[in-house]
C-alpha cells in the first residue's frame, strides 16, 4: 500500500469504524425512548439534511452565526493589525499594551458576560464583541512577530537610503509580516466561529444563531436536529479554517513556503 493510499484509507477506515460503533450503541444499547441521546446516523441525515424545511431551519441560524463571526473577525483584524503596528513602531506602546493583550487572552468570557450585557445589551452587538475579544490576541501577537521578523540588515539598507518609517513599514515590514498575519487570521477565524456560537447562548435577542438552535433542540430533546446543528456548526469551523488557508496561499504562496526554508 503506497503512502498516499494509506493517508486516505486509514482515516476513512477510522470513520467507518466510528460510525459502526455509533450504530451499535444507538441501535442495541439505547432503548427507542432514549435514542435521542444518540440517533442513528442515517436518521440524522434524513431528518436534518434531506428535509428541506428542517435544513433551512438549520442553515438560517448558521448563516447568522457565520455573519457574526465574520464581522467580529474583521473588526478584530483591523484593531489587531493597527495595534501590533503601533507596538512595532514604538517600544513604549508595546511595553504599555502587551500585558493587556496577554490578559485579554486569559479573561474568561463567561465571567464578563454580565458586563458586556450591561454595556451592549443582549443582542447582536454583544455577540460581535465576544468574537472580537476572543479573536484579537492571535492577530496581535502574530502580526507583531511578523513585523519584527525583518532582518536587521534589510532595515540597515532602508536606513542607508534615508527611507521614512512609513516607507519602511509599507515596503519592508508589512509585506514581510504577511505570512504571519495570515497565520494569525487563520487561528482567529477558527476561534471566531467558536466565539459566535458560545455568544449565542448568552445573547439571545435578535436573529438567533446556530448556538441558540443547538440549545433549543437540546431542550426539545430533538436528537436528529441537535446533531444536525452540531455537525453544521463544526463544518462551518472547518470551512472557515480551510478558507483562510486558501486565502493565505493566494496572497503569499508564490514566495512563502511554510514547509520549506
Amino acid at each position: 500500500m503506497s503512502r498516499m493510499t494509506a493517508r486516505v484509507l486509514l482515516p476513512v477506515a477510522f470513520a467507518a469504524g466510528v460510525v459502526a460503533i455509533w450504530y451499535l450503541i444507538s441501535g442495541l444499547l439505547l432503548s427507542p425512548s432514549r435514542r435521542f441521546i444518540l440517533p442513528m446516523p442515517h436518521e440524522i441525515v434524513v431528518v436534518a439534511f434531506l428535509d428541506g424545511n428542517n435544513l433551512m431551519d438549520l442553515l438560517r441560524p448558521l448563516a447568522v452565526s457565520a455573519g457574526v463571526a465574520l464581522i467580529g473577525l474583521l473588526i478584530a483584524a483591523v484593531i489587531g493589525i493597527v495595534t501590533a503596528t503601533l507596538m512595532s513602531q514604538a517600544r513604549w506602546v508595546e511595553t504599555t499594551l502587551y500585558p493587556y493583550a496577554v490578559a485579554l487572552q486569559s479573561v474568561p468570557i463567561l465571567a464578563i458576560v454580565p458586563l458586556i450585557a450591561f454595556a451592549l445589551g443582549y443582542g447582536f452587538g454583544s455577540r460581535i464583541l465576544v468574537v472580537v475579544l476572543i479573536a484579537l490576541f492571535p492577530i496581535i501577537t502574530n502580526t507583531l512577530f511578523g513585523l519584527q521578523s525583518v532582518s536587521p540588515q534589510m532595515r540597515d539598507l532602508f536606513k542607508i537610503t534615508h527611507s521614512s518609517r512609513w516607507t519602511t513599514l509599507r515596503r519592508l515590514e508589512f509585506p514581510a509580516a504577511l505570512p504571519a498575519i495570515f497565520t494569525g487570521l487563520r487561528i482567529s477565524a477558527g476561534m471566531a466561529v467558536v466565539g459566535a456560537i458560545v455568544a449565542d447562548f448568552f445573547f439571545r435577542r435578535g436573529q438567533s444563531g446556530i448556538g441558540l438552535a443547538i440549545d433549543t433542540y437540546r431542550n426539545l430533546l430533538d436528537g436528529e436536529m441537535l446533531y444536525g446543528a452540531i455537525i453544521l456548526a463544526s463544518a462551518l469551523g472547518l470551512v472557515v479554517f480551510w478558507l483562510f488557508g486558501l486565502l493565505s496561499k493566494l496572497a503569499v504562496g508564490a514566495w512563502h513556503q511554510p514547509d520549506r526554508r
Binding site: D156, F158, I160, T161, S163, P175, W255, H256
Partner: protein, 245 residues
C-alpha cells in the same frame, strides 16, 4: 589633491553597554582604492563598515565619509522573498526616488553586469546561493555607489563560486570605479581582491598593520600561486596569529 573617500582619525566606538568595538583607528581611503579588512571575529570589522556607512557614529575622534551614495552587501543576500530579482534590484533605486524610467534602464543594465539578465523574473528562492549573492551585489550596484562596503560577502559560498565571484567583482570594480572596503576571513581573498590589506586586532578593536598589495590590475590564478603571493600570505598569517594570542 582630491578629498579622501573615507577618513578616520583617532576614531573610537564604544557601545552603551561598555564594549569598546574600535579604538584609535586611523584610516584614510582614497577614491578608487579597494581596501580589504582582515581580523579575528569581534575585532570591529563590521563596526568599521557601519561607521563608514553612517549607520553607526564615532564616540571619539573624527570619521568623515565623502559620499552618501553607498552600497552595502552582507554575508547573507537578504533579498526580499516576495519580490522578483528585477524588483529586488530596483528597490534601492526606487527608495532613492529615481524616476521609473531611469530605474528600469538601470535595473536592466545592472542585471546584465552581474549576469542575471535571464533570471530577472525569478524569485530569490529559485536561485542558487551564488546567484542570490549576484542579485545582492546588483541591488547595491544599481545606486551607482561611490563607496561600496562588503561584509564577508562570499563567506557562505563554496570555493569555486567564491573565486568566480571574486573575479567578477574585481572586473566590476575596475569598470565602475567605486571605492571598495571588503571584509573577509580569508587571507588569500584579502590579498587577491585588495589594493591594500588592513589587518585588525581585537580587545580593543584596532588596526595593527597595513600592506600595499604588490600586484597590479591584472590578476588571475597565476597570481594566487606566485611566490610573492605566498610570501605576503605567510607574513600576514604571522601577524594575525600574533594578534589572536
Amino acid at each position: 589633491m582630491t578629498a579622501a573617500a573615507v577618513e578616520f582619525s583617532d576614531v573610537g566606538v564604544r557601545f552603551p553597554n561598555g564594549t569598546t568595538a574600535l579604538s584609535k583607528v586611523d584610516l584614510t581611503i582614497q577614491p578608487g582604492e579597494f581596501v580589504t579588512l582582515l581580523g579575528p571575529s569581534g575585532c570591529g570589522k563590521s563596526t568599521l563598515l557601519r561607521l563608514a556607512s553612517g549607520l553607526e557614529s564615532a564616540t571619539s575622534g573624527a570619521a568623515t565619509v565623502s559620499t552618501d551614495r553607498i552600497g552595502y552587501v552582507f554575508q547573507e543576500a537578504t533579498l526580499l522573498p516576495w519580490l522578483t530579482v528585477a524588483r529586488n534590484v530596483a528597490l534601492l533605486a526606487e527608495l532613492d526616488g529615481l524616476p521609473q524610467r531611469e530605474v528600469s534602464s538601470r535595473v536592466a543594465r545592472t542585471l546584465e553586469l552581474v549576469g542575471l539578465q535571464d533570471f530577472s523574473q525569478n524569485r530569490p528562492h529559485q536561485l542558487s546561493g551564488g546567484m542570490r549573492m549576484r542579485a545582492s551585489l546588483a541591488r547595491s550596484l544599481v545606486r551607482d555607489p561611490e563607496l561600496f562596503l562588503f561584509d564577508e560577502p562570499f563567506g557562505a559560498l563554496d570555493e569555486f563560486t567564491r573565486e568566480r565571484l571574486n573575479d567578477d567583482l574585481r572586473a566590476l570594480w575596475q569598470r565602475e570605479r567605486f571605492t571598495g572596503v571588503f571584509v573577509t576571513h580569508s587571507i588569500a581573498e584579502a590579498i587577491y581582491m585588495g589594493t591594500r590589506v588592513v589587518v585588525m586586532g581585537a580587545h580593543p578593536g584596532r588596526i595593527i598593520r597595513e600592506y600595499d598589495v604588490p600586484f597590479g590590475a591584472e590578476r588571475d590564478e597565476h597570481t594566487r600561486y606566485s611566490a610573492e603571493f605566498a610570501a605576503l600570505s605567510s607574513e600576514i598569517s604571522d601577524v594575525l596569529k600574533g594578534a589572536m594570542s
